[in-house]
Point group: C2
Chain length 196, copies 2
């Protein structure tokens, strides 16, 4: 499997990779063991600090590991990892070592105690900053404190989950009737420029 | 512009359209006026009830309208509406009537007081069910109480925002080395089947 050559990436720009809504692999570490889960229910919440909200099922093995360690890494796979994405989502870290089973490479993170997945296009090191919604919604609010991303390809061929086992790939830049490159952001949290 | 022939759609299956992460148009109504905003920071939070979390900037005209009316409609545009998506995101309902300016058709919703956009592939009628995170994060938790969706095309060509004015289109079903149609869901909130 391909390992990417990555560089540090500004955390306030990670929305480029998360806002399009890809399936991500969330890696964690607790009590000397690592784990990986497949996840598709996440949203950017703010540019600075770089907040991301994620639903992590309390039925998952990752739930307690992330809740206790207060950290994780959000990894962005490309479509060549779709079988690993499915396999990881359909197995549990209570029974297997997912890095070993799926032949993925754990790399140390710089700022959190959870491993990066070398075979993913980008890796976002996350600290849990708000645990108040965990009990009601299984909703974790993380701050991305360090980001790593490959420079190529410019637009990673991420996978997006349609339910019922169907994934789609984000592939093509939209053709617009009028140029939009220079326009203002169209979304945002507390970004005052967004005024729709 | 195309108007879709739609049917009622089960609310516990709307994740098919939201989990892939499309840009959505959120329509609202308050005090006799309507508005539309472009939005890309949202996540599915639960199947049943069909909870969806959305960041709505407090700098936006929609913010107060949705907070006060406690309702909105999440509309899913296809790529043919990308210019409207950008135009709606770069203008404010404080100055213009967006339905009129962008030549979109408001249709009455069945269960909330906010209009559906006829030119969108799907429309999800939403009630605000948790306002506790609005002050801290501009984060609204909605329940989808009624959903309408077109039957064709099967996979809508949704637009996904990369930041900096760049949109991408979800187009291709992923090619897997092994079939995955029959496998279990790979994500989930309190869905006990997800145990990654």
């Amino acid at each position: 499997m391909k390992k990417y050559k990555k560089a540090d990436f500004p955390v306030d720009k990670i929305r480029r990779f998360l806002e399009p809504g890809p399936i991500v692999l969330i890696s964690s570490q607790w009590n000397g063991k690592t784990n990986i889960m497949t996840q598709g229910w996440h949203t950017v919440m703010e540019f600075t600090p770089a907040w991301v909200g994620c639903i992590i099922s309390d039925g998952s093995h990752s739930f307690e590991m992330i809740k206790r360690s207060k950290a994780c890494v959000i990894n962005i796979p490309e479509v060549d990892l779709v079988d690993e994405v499915v396999g990881i989502g359909n197995s549990t870290g209570a029974e297997i070592d997912k890095f070993e089973t799926f032949k993925l490479t754990a790399q140390p993170a710089a700022m959190v105690k959870a491993p990066l997945i070398a075979e993913c296009y980008a890796n976002f090191e996350c600290k849990l900053v708000d645990a108040r919604l965990i009990q009601t919604y299984n909703y974790f609010i993380f701050e991305v404190v360090k980001a790593h991303a490959a420079a190529a390809p410019r637009y990673p061929r991420t996978v997006h989950y349609r339910g019922d086992g169907v994934f789609m790939v984000l592939r093509t830049v939209a053709q617009q009737a009028s140029p939009i490159q220079a326009r203002k952001p169209v979304t945002g949290g507390k970004d005052k420029k967004a005024r729709a």
